[in-house]
């Protein structure tokens, strides 16, 4: 099925989210929509999928006019949309999750669910997209990639002819991304029309046949993926050449006999982390590589006092350090940027200012020092380049990249000695990335000790001075320098 959209416009209040966007999704082809945060990618995809309605413009399916007033309506016409967030309900079975929108049809007399039929249908849907998941599997044991595949199976269960995936890989790691990409190829080979939005150019270049670049809600170009390289895509997305120098130059940390800022010895935390030892000196960025579940998250939880150490020791500036809770960690100079900014990093309904000074509100005794808070917030907004209409604007009104800058600002507001960064640029566009990298480097040059965990390999290589590789909870390799290291050199130790 060919899905054609012509000159779509969409405004949200004063914000023009999409302006004059035209796009053609071909039968049996994968079409990627790329652009920075706020470029209008999701808006476009959601207009195609009926989740939102364009203010003007026209769409057609195989030449027949198409104006879905809801996702339900779109599904009816053969266009299925998979949302960015994972919407699996863990208290239901896999089969129930797949047919959640349609359970009534599978109910027998008195509304009793026909479980066997449902399970068989669900298994067929899973087999059809080529994933090896059994409907009897326990949902709690599945990883995010597998959950995403179940969502795709759900979308496929209505027998659509076109499938739209909105940032389906944003929270997935290597293996999980591969699984989703494979499903896309499988469906493509069966003649499905596929549209997807992604931040990862590598995925786009492997998976897409066609691609459309958007910038600031405007259409930039549509092209065959074979005709364009990563550099060119980057340039058109941002409007200038950024690939050179997106990672600021390293400033070698001064060789010093002083005790390292953070020393980790044979640390074991929770079920995931069994043994890791390393130092982070002042002025240095140490990277942590590893698949999800390899232990980086657990190590962070241990260092910030969110989980106790099962074994091993921590030292801060040469002194033994036993954080009993995150409060103790912050008080001893450890700042922490968590992996999930939505649920752990910031309070969306609160203002930029409130979030920035949250970790250590300036105070005279018990009283809040409002004027000082304002000046601290103003400085941080300027330092990190947070784009907000005012310090009083609620964080949820900002773009993903700017929200992440607020979380970084919250960490820097306490003037920490050690900064822990867990995927600092997850779901962040290139422009904001650049600024976050600049600030991280600048703070390292000023003597901050930084521990960086990331699923983005180029980021780890580009930003770290040294790198520790974790595999199944054990540190297996340390790279003393990353000057000549390639991605696969590291990945081979991870898997």
């Amino acid at each position: 099925m060919t899905l054609v959209a012509t000159s779509l416009h969409k405004r949200f209040g004063k914000t023009i989210a999409a302006s004059d966007i035209s796009i053609t999704l071909r039968t049996g082809a994968v079409h990627a929509i790329v652009g920075e945060n706020g470029a209008g990618k999701s808006t476009t995809l959601r207009m195609l999928g009926g989740a939102i309605q364009p203010d003007s413009g026209a769409m057609s399916l195989d030449g027949v006019p198409y104006a879905p007033h809801s996702t339900f309506d779109a599904t009816h016409r053969g266009v299925a949309l998979v949302h960015q967030e994972i919407t699996i309900n863990r208290s239901l079975t896999i089969a129930e999750n797949i047919f959640i929108g349609d359970l009534r049809r599978h109910a027998g007399a008195l509304g009793v669910l026909k479980r066997k039929t449902l399970a068989a249908l669900a298994q067929a849907a899973l087999d059809r997209i080529g994933v090896k998941i059994s409907v009897t599997a326990n949902l709690d044991r599945l990883n995010l990639g597998e959950l995403k595949c179940i969502e795709i199976a759900r979308a496929i269960s209505s027998n659509p002819k076109a499938l739209l995936l909105d940032e389906s890989t944003a929270y997935l790691d290597h293996r999980e991304v591969d699984a989703v990409l494979q499903v896309m190829q499988e469906l493509k080979s069966k003649g499905m029309t596929i549209g997807f939005v992604s931040h990862h150019l590598k995925e786009v270049l492997t998976a897409a046949d066609d691609l459309t670049i958007l910038k600031d809600g405007q259409f930039v170009c549509s092209t065959s993926a074979a005709d364009i390289g990563a550099n060119e895509i980057h340039r058109r997305m941002v409007g200038r050449d950024v690939l050179q120098g997106i990672y600021p130059p390293r400033s070698p940390p001064p060789a010093s006999a002083a005790a390292p800022a953070l020393r980790v010895r044979q640390a074991a935390v929770g079920r995931e982390l069994n043994d890791i030892s390393f130092d982070v000196r002042h002025g240095e960025v140490v990277g942590l590589a590893g698949l999800k579940g390899a232990g980086a998250e657990a190590l962070f939880a241990g260092i910030v006092g969110d989980e106790p150490l099962r074994h091993g020791q921590l030292e801060l500036g040469g002194k033994a350090y036993h954080p009993s809770n995150p409060r103790a960690a912050w008080q001893q100079g450890i700042a922490h940027l968590p992996g999930d900014r939505g649920s752990e990093g910031l309070i969306g309904s609160h203002s930029v200012l409130d979030n920035l000074i949250m970790a250590r509100p300036p105070a005279f005794g018990p009283f809040f020092a409002r004027a000082r808070a304002r000046s601290i917030a103003k400085d941080l907004i300027k330092l990190i380049g947070i784009r907000t209409s005012s310090p009083q604007a609620a964080c949820q009104s900002l773009s993903g990249g700017n929200m992440q800058k607020v979380v970084l600002g919250k960490c820097l507001a306490v003037v920490p000695g050690v900064l822990l960064l867990n995927n600092p640029t997850r779901g962040v566009d290139v422009g904001a990335r650049e600024e976050i990298y600049r600030v991280i480097r600048q703070k390292a040059a000023e003597g901050l000790a930084i521990l960086l965990s990331s699923e983005d390999m180029p980021e780890l290589i580009g930003l770290s001075d040294r790198l520790v590789v974790l595999r199944r909870g054990v540190a297996v390799r340390e790279f003393a320098s990353l000057e000549a290291v390639e991605e696969h050199d590291i990945v081979q130790h991870m898997i």
Partner: protein, 333 residues
Amino acid sequence: MSNAIKAHRPADATLTREGGSKGFQIDRLRRSFPAVFLAVLIVVFTMMSPRFLSLDNLSTVLEQGTVLLVTALGASFIIMAGSIDISVGAIVAVSALVAAMTSDTLGAFAIIPAVAVGALCGCFNGLLLAVGKVPSFVATLGTQVVYRGLVLYFTRGAPVEIQDEGFLAAYSNVSYGIPHTVMIGLALAIVAWAIFRFTVFGREVLAIGGGERVSILTGIAVTRVKITMFLLLGALCGMAGLLQGARTMAATSQLGLGLELDVIASVVVGGTPLTGGLGSITNTFLGVLIVTLLSNGMNMSGVDPYLQNIIKGVVLIVAVYINIDRKKIGIIK
């Protein structure tokens, strides 16, 4: 800062499906809703009963509303932090009993044991929630029964009268035409407002309501803040119990029965959502006035007493229906 939060309208295209100037106006309307609603109530009741707006009645309203006001001030902190306390009425009863039992010997100084016992009850609630990790609704559902049970046990169901002249003079007399109860209530309202507006504690309460996990990971002493806010509510309930005892000149096991429902209604009608993270003491003050005026106004205008509860319930639901910004709350449970 509450203004900053309320002034917000999501502008990000990916966050909201509607908006535009219309949404903005609705939002502004919503923010001023409690005040508008209060004004409408006053106009309607004034038309129905000329005596409604008299100084005499105004004084009565304030006196009737003081116990509700004092307890709702404390409950505001709890609700803004996303918790709830339904043992309010029971703590009021316990404190009134303590005040009655000690007023013979301590006179006006019975305030000390009354408030202390209230604070103790509140502190216990806070410990159950913050340390025992029992959800506040369940914890206070249990302690409510225990606290009221304590009153029944010690009184054996019989009222304990308060006769001490000094006590009654301090807490139920009138000076300069204003009942002492009202003076105390307004003074406490100003203190609570200042605590909320000017202290770090007030901000931490809102932060916990806005995102507890975020607050913990950012190093806020969540346990301490929670215990403190329950202790604060307990102390205010202690004060309310004392004032109520002084008004009725006795402590009974039925004192403050069902008060918690009026308290929660006041806070919510004032515009503070039960999910926490938003709100202010000013909101609560308006909510208390609305709830109190509604009862008083219906009495004054001679509405059938057997009909009043129905009207009251409907009005409260309508008020909250219009008042709540569903976009910000996300999921209504």
